[in-house]
């Protein structure tokens, strides 16, 4: 079995995995980080988005071994202790979620978007979240939350 060494939410992690183990399986089943969700299993819905070396990726379409040596951040890695990340806080404040299933992926995509666009516009947000599907709320409040979260991240 291949061994993978990676940094997950700032902690060095070493695990034995099968070749076919996906990054999302490693995170959820071996490391117990179940905040990263699996929705569609076909790389469409975006519930499984995590950051690999600062870039948002769908963890259901990446082999765990391909993340070897990388820095991975999941939704669990955003808050510091009890203090939510500004993007998480903005989702709460703006009712950017209803059932919450898509939320970890939405927040991870949103953080990456905010980092890449110093002056995020509504158009950037709507385009940037094209790969994240929400089946409850529609997207209005999510977009408002991302814009507010991006602004708070700049402070």
């Amino acid at each position: 079995m291949p061994t993978v060494n990676l940094t997950v939410n700032g902690k060095a992690v070493s695990a034995n995995v099968e070749a076919r183990t996906l990054l999302v399986n490693l995170l959820r089943e071996q490391l117990g980080l179940t905040g990263t969700h699996v929705g569609c299993d076909t790389s469409q819905c975006g519930a499984c988005v995590v950051h690999v070396d600062g870039k948002s990726v769908k963890a259901c379409t990446l082999l765990a071994v391909q993340a070897n040596g990388s820095k991975v951040t999941t939704i669990e890695g955003l808050a510091s202790g009890d203090k939510l990340h500004p993007m998480q806080e903005a989702f709460r404040e703006h009712h950017g979620l209803q059932c919450g299933f898509c939320t970890p992926g939405m927040v991870m995509s949103a953080v990456c978007l905010a980092q890449n666009h110093p002056n995020l516009t509504e158009k950037d947000v709507r385009e940037g979240l094209e790969g994240n599907l929400c089946r409850c709320t529609g997207y209005h409040n999510i977009v408002q939350a991302v814009l507010a979260g991006a602004q708070a991240m700049r402070r």
Binding site: P2, A19, R20, L22, D41, S56, V65, E127, E130, G131
Partner: protein
Amino acid sequence: MYATFDLDRPGDLAAALAILRTKGAVALAGGTNLIVDMRAGRERPQRVVSLDKLGVLRGIRQARGQVTIGGRTTVTDLLLSPVIAKTAPALVESARQFAGQMVRNTATVAGNIACGSPAADLVPPLFALDARLTLVSARGRRTVPIESFFIGYKKDIRRPGELISRISWKAPSSRSCALFYKLARRKGDAITVVGVAVALDVERGRCRRARVALGAVAPTVFRAREAEAILEGQTLTPELIESAAEAAAAAARPIDDIRASAAYRRHGVHALVRRLIGQAWEKLA
């Protein structure tokens, strides 16, 4: 879980090519098609050769008027590159509309070509650039025009164990304009219903070179040569542009499927070729 396989992650290209010669071995680049297909059981490779350690296959350079990109260059890499912005604006437009940001961060240019889908978004702009593909295998390398790469629906000329290592094109002149339009049911993460890339070069008030490349309306991406012939050598008029659009629509061989009817696709080709050629000509005239 899906079927098991042996995995290799070779550190150099020669080692990767040696393994790819073995039966049942497939190359894994971004994985945004292959892993989805493996999980669905549509692909069951015995051996997967991950190319993720081969930095040599990734990158964008321009030298002596020639732009060369490595096959493992990602769609996001295209969007961040000033060289691509300058030499391949239609490719940038297709990259912008390619899936969503997470897929663009991992999906590769060679992967989009090699998947062989007629709806692959990067392919029509590469046809309009007269791009060339370098294919390598343990037996050697060859360079082919992208146009001769595809021979049928999801069929191409690669021999067993051959990889697309590079994609290259000549940087266009300053008197040229290239445009791309993706018609789809929604903007993001959508499979293209009609993809059109056009390129015009203008010299002394005449169209010197015209390219009209169509996606998702035939078994492969293809050039509507009849349309190009109507435009080349001419000072373009609305009538000429209209006949080129008609010729392009006539050359399409679209199908009915869940995304659109054949008739709608043909209509889309006509409207989009007319619009894009008109816009490109207006920019240059």
